[in-house]
Amino acid sequence: MKKLMKIASLLLALCLALALTACGGTEDSDKTNPPSGSGTAQAAGYTFRFKGVEIAVDADLAPIVAALGDPTDYFDSDSCAFQGKDKVWTYGGVILRSYPEGDKDLVLSVELMDDSVSTPEGIYVGSSRDDVTAKYGAPTSEAGTSVSYVKGKCTLMFSLADGKVSSIAYRSQVLDE
């Protein structure tokens, strides 16, 4: 019994000490982390920065298109039997597509069609395949004429033609289902 008590009291003291120090720790980290559940940029995956707006796949589209201003082209289509609309916004060489989820539209994909824009890592249409692997490393997957990198819930895809990037797409994994 004596031994048990000794162990128990030691453990108690340890817990208490930990409790005091760690509480301070939690407080600190609280300030650096944004509140969870705010649902904006998904820090985990690749994101694209365009006109100062951070765009991540599966993010709510409404605030993004509001911040981007008037598109050069807009298209929407009813899906069969009214299961929501698929929408496409075009801003010059950038195409934004959405899919309906509940009563919101989420980002399905962002496509970079010309060299007026580049990824935050500096790859643009016309970069060579070697440029891509230099920046992003070995691709997660390769299929036909494209290489893909998966990070978080985002697939970053480079289509290649004649050894050069012909288009770039940030794709939601919804597309692979």
């Binding site: 069969c80 997957s141 299929a143």
Partner: protein, 358 residues
């Protein structure tokens, strides 16, 4: 005493079963107004006479071919076993199901659905599967179609799926508790309004243009099933351009058709020959044809059918003529009603999106 307890238990159990059955009828969506696509699969079983031509596939068949025109112009008896976003395996099992009732001479399959290789959406699954009569085909169709969150039991007892509708019941649910109205014309979904095609956004670049192995596997099964039953299979791609049908996909189908000795027509390139004008012949800016377009399409396709297949002209058969004249009447009545609504309101009010109840 024991017997009495058993009997009262049995009575209560039967009463519970009856109430549950009634609730199930009440709570299942009726698909009578607005979203009528959910009624299509079920309506097939109301057909009295067999058909020589059977279409299977998604909206690209049930909105693009007027079965009534096929009858009126060629005496072809046809039916469209279509449903919204019908996936290839659903087409296969719906065909298998149809073969329990009849053996058509020609089956027409629209290839767009081959782009989907995996189960997609619970809502569409429900519309394509709930209406099927129970059989091994239905069970297999369910198993092939379920998304991750779905369970088979929900199909066996649809009440488990639709129980939460108690707070959203509408007049239709009571009115159509035991009887439903026809919503299609031998499977054809009528829309007479016009919204011209203006253009489509550039198609998405894909990482891989190979059609999925699962989807192509079911196309193989459709081909084999038709061969087994002596049915001629025709592959088509409807003349509408959106969702985009990639050239890479088309090449694969051309190759497949050649290998299997099947005719394949991509009607996108044949629009001029058919006489389609996408400024007047579509009701939703080019996604689907309207009735004007569907009649042109049917006339063109009917000619091909009569020239190439040994089909019977049933217009002279009094039994068929009687049944089909009713269909023609319903078709013309609905057309008249839709045109009247267009004239009065400028758009349709009891059909399509505007008719969806609150």
């Amino acid at each position: 005493m024991k017997r009495k307890a058993f009997l009262s238990g049995l009575a209560v159990f039967l009463a519970l079963a009856a109430v549950l059955w009634f609730c199930q009828r009440l709570l299942m969506p009726k698909y009578q107004t607005g979203i009528v696509e959910g009624s299509m699969v079920e309506e097939y079983y109301r057909e009295e006479l067999p058909h020589e031509v059977l279409f299977i596939g998604d909206c690209e068949v049930y909105e693009n071919f007027s079965t009534i025109t096929l009858w009126e112009n060629y005496g072809i008896t046809s039916y469209i076993r279509g449903s919204a976003q019908q996936l290839v395996w659903q087409s296969y099992y719906l065909l298998e199901d149809a073969l329990r009732y009849e053996t058509p001479k020609v089956v027409v399959f629209n290839v767009l659905a081959l782009k989907y290789n995996t189960p997609q959406s619970e809502a569409y699954n429900r519309m394509s599967l709930d209406g099927m009569r129970w059989s091994g085909s239905k069970a297999a169709a369910i198993r092939a179609s379920m998304t991750e969150d779905e369970s088979f039991v929900d199909y066996v007892f649809p009440l488990l799926r639709y129980h939460a509708r108690w707070s959203e019941l509408t007049g239709d649910d009571f009115k159509h508790l035991f009887s439903k109205d026809l919503v299609t014309h031998a499977g054809y979904y009528m829309r007479v309004d016009v919204k011209p095609q203006t253009g489509f956004p550039p198609p998405m670049v894909l990482p891989d243009y190979t059609l999925g192995a699962n989807a192509m596997g079911y196309l193989d099964k459709i081909t084999a099933l038709c061969k087994e039953n002596g049915i001629a299979l025709i592959l088509i791609k409807a003349p509408t351009e959106y969702p985009h049908w990639y050239d890479e996909w088309d090449a694969q189908i051309v190759e497949y058709a050649e290998k299997n000795g099947l005719p394949y027509f991509n009607y996108i390139g044949l629009r001029d020959e058919i006489g389609l004008d996408m400024t007047t012949d579509t009701y939703d800016a080019g996604l689907h044809l309207n009735t004007r377009g569907a009649e042109k399409m049917a006339d063109y396709f009917g000619r091909y059918l009569t020239e190439n297949y040994d089909l019977t002209d049933y217009r002279t058969d009094p039994d068929y003529a009687a049944v089909w004249s009713e269909k023609v009447k319903y078709y013309n009545d609905m057309k008249e009603q839709q045109y009247a609504e267009l004239a009065e309101y400028g758009h349709l009010v009891s059909f399509g999106a505007n008719a969806i109840e609150g």
